[in-house]
């Protein structure tokens, strides 16, 4: 097979004052026709920089300072800008992580695809429109004639990513660079997009550089793998070799950190429920006015469940399933339309504002985004003590407790005097957990609390939660879109779809003998499910 791209000793310099001199420090790789190379690494490993350097899309201040990238016999890094521009989109194409923001919100999908032809001066306008329609059909978008005229906001995340792929394929590139193209998507959508990429690779015979942080995805599609850590390729080889016999300790750590579907030992649970949700409903109405009809979305539709003291209940579902609304209703950040939220016998859903303020501490939340959920102008001590002090705890006692909690979550008491920006994402999530604990809650609602973190950090935070669960007897409602994560921590799992509770049961039952079709679909869509299954089988043997 012909070599499409060969990168030789590429290094990319960061501006002065960055945490290290080189974003990428001398990496080499080759991609052949019809081959998928996965570049794997955690955030800051330089994997996206490598892709951007190839495309000539490096951010200002960052520049290639060594090495070559030979594409079709010439070093693309040394080409003048006009030639690189004509290469972009025609022979090397790229798709991005966030399909929500990667399309121009004010342009119709058809126009945005046809624009690729216009950019390279190909075809007449009618021919361009015809080809855009054909591409939309090829990437499997429903009702192509309608999609051509649609604006991005009228499409779902998966549909937008398909539109992006259509755009990238327009001029039949020899090399497709995909930068975390499925990270922002639901598992079932992710599975479809991966299948589409595999299928297109086969039909078009293009080389694919696929950037990801997820070894599950790697197991699903990679021919070759290159593992990057801090700008250096620590390991590369065939997918089978890297996944099964990883040589470098960093690769091993990453692989170990992946929730592989190893199920925890079933634990005996207490009978006494800490939370009982009964017949909960929440309907969102949008629009409505002089001449408009209101639209109704049943975010939570007659859901009942309970959590025992010391239990971790995983609430799993795709975006729009109502899992977050349910979580927010339990904390009473949204007031449900009907139903009860009983915490220690009190119905939180029925409390007045004044009574609610006194009972707020009973249920606390840990949020998804560790960067946005702490006030950047408040020291950690204040973040941890404001709640307890408002509840009437003496200041000295609250501060002592805050320091103790910081020790418990593994940050050390001296963290109290610092500001949020001085901490990494994983550390901030620990602060978020300490903040929730400071209120001495009966229940913690963790809404996608580890989703924004790198796998190795994710594993550490999950370890912490497991530790806290056994040490403090914590009850947790753990909301996540990721079944693998849920399997690691939870005692039972509840699956939601379109506002309804589809299935609820012990982790082993859900994973090993799911009763509902939707649960089976979700499990099948988990990337690398087969690979994880093989691993488990091997471990058992």
């Amino acid at each position: 097979m012909r070599t499409v791209l060969s990168i030789e000793d590429l290094s990319i310099a960061l501006p002065k004052g960055a945490d290290r001199p080189h974003a990428v420090g001398g990496i080499s790789m080759t991609i052949r026709e019809g081959e998928i190379l996965c570049v794997v690494g955690e955030s800051g490993s330089g994997k996206s920089m490598t892709a951007n350097a190839l495309m000539g899309l490096l951010p200002p201040g960052v520049a290639v300072d060594g090495g070559r990238a030979v594409f079709d016999g010439q070093d693309v890094l040394a080409l003048p800008e006009t030639e690189r521009q004509s290469l972009r989109g025609s022979r090397i194409a790229m798709i991005f992580q966030e399909p929500m923001t990667a399309l121009n919100p004010l342009m119709r999908i058809g126009e945005q695809i046809a624009e690729v032809f216009a950019a390279h001066g190909m075809y007449t306008q009618t021919e361009r429109d015809k080809r855009a329609l054909a591409l939309i059909t090829e990437v499997g978008l429903p009702d192509p004639a309608k999609i051509v005229r649609a604006y991005p906001f009228q499409l779902s995340g998966g549909q937008r990513q398909r539109a992006m792929i259509a755009m990238a394929l327009a001029l039949e590139p020899e090399l497709l660079i995909a930068d975390e193209p499925t990270t922002a998507l639901d598992v079932t959508t992710q599975a479809q997009i991966l299948e589409l990429i595999l299928d297109l690779r086969k039909r078009r015979g293009m080389g694919v550089m696929f950037i990801t942080h997820d070894f599950g995805v790697v197991a699903e599609i990679a021919d070759k793998v290159i593992v990057m850590e801090k700008g250096i390729a620590v390991e590369q080889g065939s997918a089978a070799a890297v996944l099964q016999t990883p040589q470098h300790p960093y690769t091993q750590r990453l692989l170990d950190a992946i929730p592989t579907g190893r199920l925890p030992e079933a634990r005996r649970l207490e009978e006494a429920p800490v939370l009982e949700v009964k017949g909960l409903r929440k309907v969102y109405r949008t629009g409505g006015g002089f001449f408009r009809e209101a639209r109704e979305v049943r975010a939570v539709d007659d859901v009942s469940l309970s959590i025992a003291r010391g239990e971790v209940l995983g609430l799993v579902g795709e975006s729009g399933s109502g899992k977050s609304t349910l979580g927010r209703a339990v904390v009473r950040l949204v007031t449900p339309d009907a139903g009860q939220v009983l915490v220690g016998g009190t119905d939180l859903a029925a409390l007045s504002e004044e009574e609610l303020r006194k009972s707020r501490n009973k249920v606390q939340m840990v949020f998804q985004d560790p960067y946005a959920s702490l006030n950047p102008r408040h020291r950690i001590l204040r973040a941890l003590t404001a709640g307890p002090i408002a509840m009437g705890k003496p200041k000295a006692a609250a501060e002592a407790k805050a320091r103790e909690l910081l020790e418990i979550v593994g940050l050390g008491a001296e963290a109290a005097g610092r500001y949020p920006h001085e901490f990494s994402g994983g550390q901030r999530q620990r602060i978020g957990i300490a903040r929730a604990l400071a209120m001495e809650p009966e229940l913690i609602v963790a809404d996608e609390a580890v989703s924004a973190l790198d796998v190795s950090i994710q594993a550490q935070v999950l370890d912490l939660l497991r530790d806290l669960r056994s040490r403090l007897g914590l009850s947790i409602l753990f909301i996540t879109h990721d079944l693998r994560v849920a399997a690691q921590l939870c005692d039972r799992i509840a699956v939601m779809q379109k506002g309804r509770l589809v299935e609820i049961g012990a982790v082993h039952d859900i994973f090993l003998s799911p009763q509902e079709a939707y649960t089976r679909d979700l499990l099948a869509a988990v990337p690398g499910a087969d690979w994880a299954g093989e691993n488990r089988a091997r471990e058992l043997a």
Binding site: L106, V116, G287, F290, F291
Partner: protein
């Protein structure tokens, strides 16, 4: 049709708002010190009881309060804004007489400032950090910071008094009796100084806003997508960045457009431009309440009309707005 439906709703609300303004106006009259009849009689210099009673009867001031309110609102609905005794003419005639001059001035300033502001803003953003960008932003800051009346006076001093290039006051040359194209040219010559004085300030605002908005949008993901497609810099700026960056400029332009009738008082006064602004200024000095209230109502109506127009433009520029609501 889909575009028009929300507009009908807005129009209904707008009419209610206008009615509320009219009622507020009515209370304003009554909140003024003394009784209009006494004021009028006093101004006429014959303040005897009999004349005051006559005036009261004539204006219906002897009627109960709610009857007066009703007849005032009914008059407004019929577009009868009352009579100006100062000018000896119906208020509506006065306003309609002055309106064209004001609209010519403010619309010219509006179009010039918006067009130049956007063009210069785009130009500055394309050269960000370079000397030409610094020059443009500094000039904009200068225009923005200069008080309007000072700029107006300086313009008259330099271009009219010193250089004698352009007429310094008025709407057309008095007594010249130009007709046809010659008259148009005459008006244009009179228009240049006041329109550019009024326009410079807003041009600076539009330019700074366009530049900032362009720079912000150029950081967005879809711009990277556009580059990855192989589009050239100018095409990306025009088709992708500008279209998205223009939204806040539209908002601001809508606000300024609302001021088209009432917002040129200073300029009209300095350049002796016979428009609504000067009418208001003169009426204010002469306590000509009916005229002032008429001008208020027309200005308020204009603000409302341009708010609706801005909403419409928004819907045209951004497809998400109509569909989401």
């Amino acid at each position: 049709m889909a575009v028009l439906v929300p507009v009908l709703g807005r129009l209904a609300k707008a009419l209610l708002t206008l009615l509320a303004i009219a009622v507020l106006n009515f209370f304003l009259i009554h909140a003024a010190p003394g009784d209009p009849a006494v004021v009028l009689a006093g101004e006429a210099g014959a303040a005897d009881e009999q004349m005051i009673a006559q005036l009261r009867e004539r204006f219906g001031l002897d009627q109960p309060f709610h009857v007066q309110l009703g007849s005032y609102v009914w008059n407004i609905v019929q577009l009868d804004f009352g009579y100006s005794f100062r000018q000896g003419a119906p208020v509506l005639d006065l306003i309609l007489d002055r309106l064209p001059a004001t609209l010519i001035l403010t619309l010219t300033a509006f179009v010039i400032s918006l067009t130049l502001g956007i063009i210069l803003g785009v130009a500055a953003s394309a050269r960000v950090g370079k000397a030409s960008d610094s020059l443009l932003t500094t000039l904009a800051l200068l225009f923005y910071a200069t008080p309007l009346y000072w700029a107006a006076l300086m313009a008259v001093l330099v271009f009219s008094v010193e250089l004698g290039w352009l007429p310094g006051f008025g709407y057309e040359t008095v007594g010249a009796n130009y007709t046809g194209l010659a008259r148009v040219w005459d008006v244009i010559k009179h228009l240049i100084l006041p329109a550019s004085t009024l326009g410079l300030f807003f041009m600076a605002v539009y330019m700074r806003m366009t530049r900032a908005s362009m720079l912000e949008v150029s950081q967005m993901d879809f711009v990277k997508t556009a580059r990855a497609k192989g589009l050239s810099g100018p095409v990306i700026r025009r088709r992708h960045i500008l279209r998205n960056a223009i939204l806040p400029v539209v908002t601001l332009a809508g606000l300024q457009a609302g001021q088209l009738v009432g917002g040129a008082v200073l300029t009209e006064t300095v350049f002796a431009w016979p428009g609504i602004g000067r009418l208001m200024f003169e009426s204010l000095a002469a306590r000509d309440y009916n005229t002032i209230l008429g001008v208020f109502l027309v200005s308020a109506a204009m603000v409302i009309v341009f708010n609706i127009l801005t909403d419409l433009v928004y819907r045209l520029v951004d497809p998400r707005i109509g569909a989401r609501a």
